[in-house]
Subunit: 183 residues, 2 copies
């Protein structure tokens, strides 16, 4: 989406800004601008008959319920990143990983949100949190509670909520449940 | 969301980047970064028993179906901006404007998408397009076609699609129809 000859004009803490000259329909040129940020991993962590989520508190905002997950580090694949985030935030590892879906929330930004399903999880360590930057409390919810949460505005990306709502409408939500809890 | 003492560190064509020092839970500081971009207006333009949308072609991507609308200019209110966009793209004015809802798609960006309902529209001029930058062809769709389109991934913001899907589930979609077509 960002052409290979685009110029990096700002290199930020999270966001990089690229610009390039785009040929228009009438042959003129216009400066186009797009952003790039590290991908985000979100983990649907299945433990027995529950889904593990968290109360996530950050210094600049209050507490909110969220999926476990976080930002990719430089050079990580999405799966490596998801495994690291699960371990850091919960001290857990999963035997069975599956990519549920990748969303691209914003047209003008190279940014993917990868939703992973993590099955057969077990605790092998204590959480290793960036204690200055976040306070995370683990919580377990049932599938129905998860669906209720996931379709709330502001829980996650709108397109994930829309996909869950489409499953409710077309009757495939029970297939989604089976997919999460299969062993 | 961006604190008043944040520093503008990059001033782009569309995106501005701000940074500030955020006190963390342990008393340390971390550089936080947020973006700002002009608000987007999207117009549900009601003409008789149809909704006016467009085929929008831009030089860097193909044709896509979209609501009329666009980006706010400096100093415009959302309503002023919506009126200007409707006139530029369709040559039309509306007698009756109502803000349907404002969405904030991304937590790390000051960016609102305002959905307006425009009723009693009539043509007073030819469209005044930026002919280098876009080719717009007007199309009329029925309410059912609009709902079908609006709930497709990639038609618009995910949260708007999610709201339409929630209306389908809770049975308020007919109220939405009445709201659009009331005179």
């Amino acid at each position: 989406m960002i052409p290979p000859d685009a110029k990096l004009v700002f290199n930020g803490v999270i966001f990089d800004v690229y610009q390039w000259q785009q040929v228009m329909f009438d042959g003129s040129f216009q400066t186009f601008e797009r952003l790039k940020r590290p991908d985000t991993m979100l983990i649907i962590a299945v433990q027995d008959d529950k889904i593990l989520i968290c109360e996530d508190e950050q210094p600049h905002r209050g507490v909110k319920l969220a999926l476990l997950g976080g930002r990719a580090d430089e050079g990580e694949t999405p799966l490596e990143s998801a495994k690291r985030e699960l371990l850091e935030e919960s001290g857990m590892v999963a035997q069975d990983w599956e990519l549920f879906k990748t969303y691209v929330p914003i047209a003008k930004m190279e940014w993917n949100i990868h939703y992973f399903i993590a099955r057969n999880i077990s605790k092998i360590a204590e959480p290793d949190l960036d204690t200055g930057g976040e306070r995370i409390t683990l919580r377990s919810v049932t599938f129905d509670e998860f669906i209720e949460l996931a379709t709330q505005p502001d829980f996650g990306a709108g397109e994930f909520a829309a996909d869950i709502l489409r499953m409710k409408i077309d009757g495939t939500i029970s297939e989604f449940r089976e997919r999460l809890f299969r062993s």
